[in-house]
Structures are given as C-alpha cells and as structure tokens.
C-alpha cells in the first residue's frame, strides 16, 4: 500500500557479479527512495564495495547481470564518467583531492568554467564559494587543500559532488578518519542536505551513526540482500543478527586443540604513527602459545594490520612497550630482526606487499630464504630448485613450472607460494593477515589445512581475518580490536559472531 506513494531514486535489481571462483554478488536487489538517507551495511566482504563499483561504473555494463534504474531511467554505465553524468557521486574512504591545488580547483577539476579557452577564475571561485556555503563551510575557496584537516577535506569532496546535477550521493565509510566533532559536523550536514532533497547512500560499520541519520537500512551478507528495513523497526541487536546470520558452516578442517608453552608476549604496547600524527595502537597486551591459533578480529581500521606489521617490524612508526619471545625481551626494528626471532608475516595486500610480479615462482619463493640455501655469499643453485619443488608438492601448488612468472597463477596458488616462502624459514611464529582474501573456496580449505598442520607441529599462528566464520572456525582464541585497543577476548567455545561484532563496534556484549 505504502509502496504506491514511494518514488525510487535508485533501483538495482537482481545484480549478479562473478569473479572466477567467487560469486561476489548473487542476485542483489537494492532500492533507494528519493530524498532519503539509506544505510548499506554488511560484514567486510559481504559485497558492499562490489555493489557500489557496479553502481559507479567501475564494472562496466555487461560484466555483471541485472538492471540499474536511476530516477526511473534504465542505465547502462560503460565507465565511471557515465555514472557521474547520470548523477551518481561516490566519496570513497580514501579522499582523492589534489592537495597542492586550491579548494576551487579541486571542486571543478576536469570541468573548469571557461571563457572561450581561458579558465574563468572569477566564476570558478564564486561558484566554489557558493558550494562551500551549501556544505556549511565559511571559507575562501582559494585556500590550498593541503592546509585543510581531513574533516574539511571531506566537506570539499561533498561540495565537489554537489557541483553537478547530483541525484545520488554515496559515502563509503566517511567517518573512519574523522574525529568526534568532525563526525558531528558531517552528520548535521547530511541531515541538512536531506532537507535540500539530496538522496544519500551511507555505508558504515558504525551503528550509532546509522541510527542517528539513516531512514532505512539494507543489509548484505555473502553477496545477497538479506533485508531492507526502515530504521524504526530495528535495534542494534537485530541489526547484528541480520548482518552475521546464524548459520556457521562446517567449512573448517577439524583438529585437536592443545595449548603449548608461552612463546610470544606483548605488554603495554602502543604505536604512534608520525605520518598521520595519531596513535594507532594503545596499550595492547597479548600472549601467544606454541601450537595455538590466535585470531585477531575487528573492523577495518581497528588496528589489526598495524598491530601485526609492527610486531614484524614493518610499520613506520614509534612503538612503546615490551615484546617478549621465549621469555626474552627483544627489540624488533625491521622485518629482518623479526625474521631472526623466527617470526614470519604473510601480508594482507598480496599484490602490493607480497608478490614480486616480474619474478618467477621459484624466485618469489626463495627470496626470504636466501641465507638458508646459500653459503656465505653464493646461492646453492640445485638446492634451491629442489627445495622449491618440494614445497610446490607439499603445498599442492598447481603450476606448470617453477620458472613461470608468479602472475601466471591464480590468487589461491599465489598465496600458497607466499606461504611456502615463509614455511621454508621454519618459523616459530607465523602471522597471517587476511590469508584467504580473494581466494576461492577450495583453495581456502587447503590453506586452512596447511595452517592446522603447522600448529600441530608446534608453530604458533596469529591469524587476522575479517571473515568472522573463518576466525571462529579456525582459532583457539580470538582477540577483538576496536579503535587501536583490544576490546575483547573470546575462547573458541564461547565465541559467537554476535559477541565478536559487538566487541568490534566498541560495545559490550
């Protein structure tokens, strides 16, 4: 009944987007009413970003199936500029402003007002100033962007989005880098824009923000639309339930859970990031045992990656506190130091931090291991080949030859090569940051099996993951992080997705 009076600004119907081995979106339908603030929620990997990439034309029409209507008109975006022309503006988590240009130049980048062929600076600045007023900033638009704080930069992005005939404004995790007062300003701005008739899609993990400004919420899980509800019919618990679902599939190989002796202990550990000028980790305390898988859960930006990379000596920043390995306090200032202590790190960002794209599979595998297969200077050629073949076989890596480039492999096999790189070192502690991201189901299971074999041999494993079922299925103990601190610790038996989620959003269960 109510439906009749509704006018849809956006109708995405039955969107299916597949990647080899993965169905990222499996028949998602997503409708946004004109003039509302519509929150889009879901766990990491639920399909939110993929859906927004479909909407913004990053994935061109034809690479997905399903239909998109904007303001009642069917749209087939070939690229992002098509989507922009149709009135869709997306503001990503990482801001994309040119910092050494003025606010006005940024707002009108690529579409500068001109008189004949010359840029009409007067028109540009006055129109930019008008837009700034609209987003609530009293500021001259000739100020350089680099002089603005991150909050103001976000406002400039929004002003830029409002420049054109904007129909839908999408904000992807806009508050992750903002301070509390900046968040307040943003919330108020979005409510004010709503009064002006702007339709907004708001992607966020933060429930308090959603309940503060959203009119309705769509929940995605595993690439499917779970439900769309008006905000009045929801509370936090209900929302968490919808996000994580209740079924925990038996997708994890079984193993005996044993607790060995303490191998790693971290005490009062804090980390300061000079580049961003803020504290990344605050007073972390944790211990790790031989033969244990310790899970680290938490939302993006909660400090998980910062924690593991700084334990490995790879984070550019200043740390305080103690790291104790085998009951001895150690100083770790570089990955090399960490490797000497028997620590290995498999990074989250395989493409940029893991593989050497121009090198062969063999070279990729042995690179962290040259000191073990060489004398004082020279690399033992045939030992190297044999070692590689052995690990290729043990890890069941499907390749033609170890001399092929690593980029010729699928994501799962690339990851196994990286795992092989670290197993060769026979680590005491292996840290895996998102070990199964972008990997198909079959390869995931194999990687889980490898991890289980490792701990059975007494290696201590730290596993960072955004996928809650994975953390719960694999780990003996789970630490949940929130805002640079450990907000909760759960044993395997007591862990539920709801508990983890509520620790992760900073609440108490």
């Amino acid at each position: 009944m109510v439906d009749v009076t509704r006018t849809w600004m956006l109708e995405m119907e039955n969107i299916i987007k597949e990647f080899p081995g993965i169905k990222a979106l499996d028949g998602v339908s997503f409708k946004v009413e004109k003039g509302e603030i519509h929150a889009l929620v879901g766990e990491n990997g639920a399909g939110k970003s993929t859906l927004m990439k479909v909407l913004s034309g990053v994935y061109s029409h034809g690479s997905y199936s399903g239909s998109i209507k904007v303001d009642g008109k069917e749209q087939r975006f070939q690229n992002t500029s098509d989507a922009e022309k149709a009135g869709i503006s997306i503001i990503y988590q990482e801001l994309s402003l040119a910092s050494n240009m003025s606010i006005a130049e940024n707002i009108f980048m690529g579409d500068e007002p001109v008189k004949k062929i010359l840029i009409d600076w007067d028109a540009m600045y006055s129109r930019a100033n008008e837009l700034l007023v609209r987003v609530g900033i009293q500021m001259d638009s000739n100020i350089l962007v680099k002089n603005l704080g991150i909050g103001l930069q976000q406002m400039v992005e929004i002003a830029k989005a409002l420049r054109t005939d904007n129909k839908i404004l999408v904000l992807d995790e806009p508050t992750s880098a903002l301070s509390k007062s900046e968040i307040d300003v943003l919330m108020n701005l979005l409510l004010a824009l709503k009064q002006q008739g702007v339709t907004c899609i708001y992607i966020s993990h933060k429930f308090d923000e959603i309940f503060r400004i959203a009119d309705s919420v769509t929940i995605l899980r595993d690439g499917k639309t779970i439900d769309t509800k008006s905000i009045d019919s929801l509370n936090e618990d209900l929302l968490i339930n919808l996000m994580v679902g209740r079924d925990l599939n038996q997708r994890y190989p079984q193993r005996e859970r044993v607790h060995g002796e303490n191998i790693l202990e971290i005490k009062n550990y804090s980390l300061f990031d000079y580049k961003e000028g803020k504290e990344r980790l605050h007073n972390i305390n944790l211990s790790l045992h031989k033969g244990e898988i310790l899970g680290i859960a938490g939302l993006m930006g909660s400090g998980r990656t910062e924690l593991v990379s700084s334990i490995f000596g790879a984070f550019y920043g200043k740390s305080e506190g103690q790291i104790i390995i085998d009951r001895k306090e150690v100083k770790i200032n570089s990955p090399k130091d960490a490797m000497k202590q028997g620590i290995g790190l498999i990074t989250e960002d395989r493409k940029n931090l893991g593989i050497f794209p121009v090198l062969s599979i063999r070279e990729n595998m042995v690179i962290a291991n040259l000191d073990n297969i060489s004398g004082s200077i020279m690399v033992n050629d045939s030992e190297e080949y044999l070692l590689c073949d052995q690990y290729v076989e043990n890890l069941n890596i499907k390749i033609g030859s170890t001399e092929n480039k690593i980029t010729s492999l699928s994501g799962g096999n690339q990851q196994k090569v990286i795992i092989g790189r670290w197993l060769m070192r026979k680590p005491k502690i292996l840290i895996l940051d998102e070990p199964t991201r972008g990997i198909d189901v079959g390869a995931k299971f194999e990687i889980y099996t490898i991890i289980n074999e490792l701990v059975a041999n007494g290696v201590a494993v730290v596993m960072v993951s955004s996928e809650l079922p994975e953390v719960m299925g694999m780990c003996d103990r789970i630490l949940v992080m929130h805002d640079g601190t450990i907000s909760g610790e759960l044993m395997h038996e007591e862990a539920t997705q709801e508990k983890i989620m509520s620790y992760a959003v900073g609440g108490r269960p």
């Binding site: 790879a314 570089s334 090399k336 493409k351 593989i355 121009v358 080949y385 030859s401 492999l409 699928s410």
Partner: protein
Amino acid sequence: MLWEEGLKMNRENTTGFFKNINLRSFIIIVALIAIWIILQFATDGTFLTSRNISLLFRQMTPIGIIAIGMVLVIVSGYIDLSVGSIVAVAGAIAAVMQTQMKIGTIPTIIALLITGVVVGIINGYLSTFQKIPPFIVTLATMLIFRGATLLITGGSTISGMNPSFKYIGDGYISPQISMIIATIGIITYVIFEITKRRNKTSKGMKVAASNWFAVKLIAICAICALLVATMNNYEGIPVPVIIMVAIMIIVSFISRNTRFGRRLYAMGGNAEAARLSGINVNKEGLKVFALLGLLSAVSGLILTARLNAATPAAGNQFEFDAISAAIIGGASFSGGQGTVFGAVIGALIMASLNNGMSILNIPSAAQFILKGLVLLIAVWFDMRGRSKGKN
C-alpha cells in the same frame, strides 16, 4: 582485479613461456646481426674486417663495462647519470698521479678504483639511506664530478702515461696466448654447463632437451672461437676486451648466483615486498651504486690508458650510451628485469652504430639523431610487447 589478470596471464603464459624467456635475448642478437650486415654492405666490406672487429670491441669496452653495472642499478629500480663524470674524474686522478706525481701504475690503479667506489658510495648513500631520488642525486653529482675533473686537470688535457699503464688500454694479448685463453675458456664453459646439467638430472630436476642443449653449447663455443680467431687474425685479443669479458662473467655470476644479486631483482620488482622479506633495501642499494662506481672507474682507467691522456670532457654522454645499452639489452625502467649479458650486447649494438657511422663519415648531427631514435625504438618495442601481454 588480481584474479582476472592472473587468469589472463595464465592463458598467455601456457603458450608464451618460451617467448618470455628466450625471445628477448634472441631479438637483440638478431638486431645486432642485422645491424652488422647492413653496415657491412654500407661500408663496402670494411666493417667486418678483422682489424675493424678488433677496433670495434676495443671501442665498446668503456661503455660495455659501465653498462654491466648500470643494468644492475636499473634492475634494482634506480638510475645513475653521473657515470660519465666518474669516468672523467677517475681518468684525471690517474693522469695527475702518473704524470705530475710520478706514481707507479699499480698504486695508480688502486687509487683509481678506490675513487670509483667512494663516489659510488656517495651516490648510493644519498639515493638510498637519505631517500633523495637517484635521478636528482646523480644529476647533481654528474655536475659536481665534472667540476672536480676541471679542477684537477686545470681545464686542459694531461697526457704522457707510463707504458705499463697504456698497455691496459691499447695492448694486445699475443695470438698464441689468446688462443690458449680462448681454449681454456671454452673447455671450462663446456665442463661447467655439463656438470650443472648432470647435477640437475641426477637430482631429478627438469632440464632442456639434450639436442637443444647441444645446439646451444656448440653455437656459443663457435661464436667465441670465431671472434677470437678474427681478432687473432689482426693482433690478438685487445687487453681491455679481456678485462670486460672477465668483468661480464664475474658480475653476471654475482647477479644470478649470490644473495646480493638476487636481492637486487627482488628490490626492483617490489621494494616494499622485498623489505618485508627481510631485505635491507638501503644496504643492497648502496652496494649496487658502489659497484657501478667501481666499474665506471675501470672504464675511466681503460679510456685514459687508450687515449694516453685525461681530458676534461672524457666520458661525456657515457650515461646515455650505458643506459641505452642496458635498456636495449632488455632492462626495464620499472625495475626487476634485465641481464648483464643483455647489457653487453646492447653496448655492442651502440658501439657498432658509432663505429659504422664513423666509417661512413656520417656527420655527428645525424649520428646523434640516429642514436636517439634507436633508443626510442628499443623502448617502444619493449612497451608494445609488454602491453600486448596485458590486453
């Protein structure tokens, strides 16, 4: 997306594995042969006389030796523009020591090599530990070392080296000894390759088919024998050529079979991943700059010895020829790719063009234009091959 790319590459790779590995070196050798044939006709047969071949190889040595170091600097993801000025400053120091200070040949050589290493370390320290872009660092040191040369030489040519010093640049190994060296070299090479192959097969590793292995061995030995015979037909192997070949073998071995060498390829391929694999990127980078500094000084030694003089303008534009040689030889500016052998072939191509154009009396204006075009075409060809791989 990563996995989409991966799949595409997978498809391409199953058919194109041979292309990736062998086609590159094959193409530059074909290009070299083509250039030689063209020049042979253009010069009415002067180009491929044994006298000219001997001269050509002698001429290529200063650039060839620098290119050997340059390719590793490029492989590691850096660049060095100051090599020409290092050549000049090393030559100037040698000349002053020999003529004005009357110092013997051996101490002169040692001082010269130390100079090379020191200036290399300066370049390296600023480019790695101090994080100044190497392009800027070496652009500045190019000027600084050139200035130092002018200061040392007082702006004029210094000539009159010791005969033993001159021998390094213009001497010949007598044909008999050349023949012996060549024979030993070829036998050692054959034994080395065969043992390596046996070693691999005995451990159950895959090796190339035996007939291909034989063809490759015979071809390489035949080419070496032919070249030595040609040079012997004139006066024997020029001393600088022996030095260059020795350096080529040693550095090529270092690049492939030592930790240091392997790390360079990793750093150039992905510096951040290299750091996360426990590689001290700054330290290895410093070493590779020091190596290039050393080789540039050797180049300066040979040039000064051959000319029997140090000139303030020595080594001008060597950076262009050396970088071109490395790139023509298959190095990639994005790092991680390139071989020492390829760089030497690249240097030989550049030297052949220089030599041929001189015989033909082509005005230097046209020579510049032609060399520039050759570099452009080589890079264009490379990029085209690469983007094809992606689409």
